[in-house]
């Protein structure tokens, strides 16, 4: 197990390097010019100096190397400095955003709490809803509950968040006026009333996201339960005289959770980056919204760093899912 983990970890390094290079090349190939938005009255030599100051003078391999050094060597030092109060990174060049000229990672750290609050809550809510639905619709296969559940999860798959989000805004914010349509990230919770306000503004984005995630997870849970319900060990458990509750909720559930847990782990990178559209609809200024504004503003270092972080999270959680699978299921052996 440990050797498998280490081997996968080593294999992840070239994968990540390649992804970083691919993103870099894609951005570099682009015909856009970061100084194109500046006034035409700027003389060409000054424009050239601006380009130099943005780090565009060097050839491509050197720029990629510099970005890698900044991202993998300087930024961890900054992190250590901020935790322990040391001075390792003093005077080192960090990855700077072209929009604000401030370090990209500082902006990312500012934006992460909003994203984690909204998307993370949605993920937890979705798991809590999806697992009971999956269990019950597998236990009563082809019942009314199961058919309705199938239909609802099909709808959950098919209705894109930019429609369901706008639809709930039209209904609950415009027509009924119950909930605010915009998520206010400056809102501070310090007493019961402000907590209620926070709860109200979280309901819509969380439910829109949770509908999608629930749709996928409950299908998985149902399929996995169905695989296990017909196994011999279930018949044995019933023949031993165990109560139905114990058979389903202890014996079958524990075995059915194995693939579901890995699917949940695989979905976690989405918490950090996947809610681009929902954040845009409800005006949550999280990571996804940061990426959209960076793309629209041609802010290449920001886009490069953000997409690389997303890719790294995907690779990391793929690895975690594989390891979890091996730990949870003793039949799986990675040798």
């Amino acid at each position: 197990m440990l050797s498998f983990f280490i081997r996968r970890l080593i294999l992840a390094v070239p994968t990540l390097l390649f992804i970083g290079l691919a993103i870099f090349l894609l951005l570099d190939l682009a015909p856009g010019d970061p100084t194109a938005q500046l006034p035409l009255t700027i003389p060409p030599e000054v424009r050239e100096q601006i380009r130099q100051s943005l780090g565009l003078g060097e050839p491509m391999p050197i720029r990629f190397w510099k970005w890698m050094v900044q991202f993998f060597w300087v930024e961890p030092q900054v992190l250590i400095d901020s935790i322990f109060g040391t001075q390792f990174s003093l005077g080192d060049q960090r990855v700077l955003s072209w929009q604000s000229r401030s370090p990209v990672m500082d902006i990312v750290v500012q934006r992460i709490p909003q994203t984690l609050w909204v998307v993370g809550t949605a993920y937890v809510v979705a798991i809590l809803i999806a697992i009971p639905i999956g269990i019950y619709s597998a236990y009563r296969q082809y019942s009314i509950f199961d058919n309705v559940g199938t239909f609802v999860s099909m709808v959950g798959f098919s209705v894109p968040p930019f429609f369901s989000g706008v639809l709930v805004i039209v209904i609950f914010a415009v027509q009924l006026g119950w909930l605010p349509s915009i998520y206010d990230t400056t809102h501070v919770v310090n007493d019961w009333d402000s907590f209620v306000v926070q709860l109200k503004q979280m309901i819509m984005p969380v439910m829109v996201l949770a509908l999608q995630i629930t749709a996928q997870l409950s299908r998985f849970m149902r399929a996995s339960m169905l695989d296990n319900l017909n196994q011999d060990y279930v018949r044995t458990a019933r023949a031993k005289g165990l109560s139905e509750k114990v058979v389903v909720l202890v014996h079958v559930l524990r075995n059915s959770m194995i693939p579901v847990v890995t699917v949940i782990a695989l979905g976690i990178p989405q918490i950090f980056g996947g809610a681009i559209i929902t954040e845009q609809v409800f005006k949550v200024n999280g990571i996804g919204q940061l990426l959209i504004t960076a793309i629209q503003a041609n802010d290449i270092p920001m886009v490069q760093t953000l997409t690389f972080i997303f890719a790294a999270l995907i690779v990391l959680f793929n690895l975690i899912a594989d390891v979890l699978y091996g730990i949870l299921d003793p039949r799986i052996r990675y040798d």
Partner: protein, 325 residues
């Protein structure tokens, strides 16, 4: 389910085969139905899936509506009538008009053509790429490792951000080369196709790996069939069912992706609407005219829902293990 199998068992064991008590032995159920082709078998299973049949009819109606509808409703999708702007549904404009007085029904049909076309063409591209890579990886042992690593690599990419980046970076260049509409169409289709082939490739590879070891492949090879002929005549027809299923899922995925990009303002230009773009434009007016948000959204959702149900039904119909249930 049992009532569905009853007519079949009556066919197989007609009354005459039942022991009549005068010493004639039961010869067991004798199949009296003539053998049927595989596709008729699939079809008869498919029409048992009520949801899939309904979804198929709805999908055909939507496609007919957007492509034939403009012949019946010849209003222009781009004609600006500024005096009739922001109107609600009426007899002259059944879906109302937008902020420039353009007829929404015509725009919905026009947008639907683009959305459905993007969906189908992008799906075909992803399907061809995915099947080719899957067959090559499954059939040729030497290519398996590199191609599957490539697939894993693509699966690790954050797709929506990358699509956004691709569209943002290349739209101007392609729009200059092919004109704004065709350029964006090519860009959309390529971007979606290139980022959606991985699941197909994995499924096809798995099936090809299993098929390659079967006797009929060995027989074909032993009479000297070339690799190309073997793939075209023996392998491909046997992996057609996972390909068909991922085709339906591919359409749904492509339509949603295109609408999402349009919704984020990075899709087709505003005078060349798609459903996603119509929804995006209507968000600013959702307090006055909520129906302008709901109609395109409903169109997207209904199309995707029907395609998904179709895929579900096809998956059941094409799986011989659950056929006849």
């Amino acid at each position: 389910m049992t009532d569905k199998t009853n007519p079949a068992s009556e066919d197989m064991a007609p009354v005459g085969a039942v022991p009549s008590g005068d010493g004639v032995l039961d010869t067991g159920p004798v199949p009296t139905n003539p053998p049927r082709s595989q596709w008729r078998e699939v079809w008869s299973q498919f029409i048992h899936h009520k949801g899939a049949v309904a979804a198929g009819i709805i999908f055909i109606l939507i496609v007919l509506g957007v492509f034939v509808g403009p012949l019946i409703w010849p209003e222009s999708a781009t004609f600006i009538d500024i005096r009739a702007r922001n109107q609600g549904p009426s007899l002259a404009h059944p879906f109302g008009t937008d902020q420039l007085g353009r007829d929404m029904l015509a725009r919905m049909m026009f947008g639907g053509q683009t959305s459905v076309l993007v969906g189908i063409v992008a799906m075909l591209l992803g399907l061809v790429l995915g099947s080719a890579i899957g067959v090559l990886a499954g059939y040729f042992r030497r290519l398996d490792g590199p191609l599957m690593r490539l697939t894993d690599l693509f699966l690790a990419l954050p797709l929506l951000p990358l699509l956004l980046v691709m569209v943002m970076l290349f739209r101007d260049g392609l729009a200059a080369a092919f004109g704004p509409e065709t350029g964006i169409f090519i860009l959309m289709v390529t971007a979606i196709g290139v980022t959606s082939w991985m699941p197909t490739a994995r499924i096809v590879r798995g099936d090809v790996l299993a098929l390659k070891e079967r006797e009929f492949v060995l027989a074909a090879r032993s009479i000297g069939t070339s690799n190309f002929k073997l793939i075209a005549r023996h392998i491909l027809p046997n992996v057609i069912s996972p390909i068909v299923v991922s085709a339906t899922l591919g359409i749904a995925n492509a339509i949603i992706t295109e609408s999402a990009l349009s919704f984020l303002g990075l899709g087709f230009p505003p005078d060349f609407p798609t459903w996603g773009r119509l929804l995006f434009d209507a968000v600013d007016y959702m307090q006055q005219n909520p129906e302008r948000v709901i109609l395109p959204g409903l169109a997207i959702s209904l199309t995707v829902l029907s395609v998904n149900y179709l895929g579900d039904g096809l998956r059941d119909a094409l799986d011989p293990r659950i056929r006849g249930r």
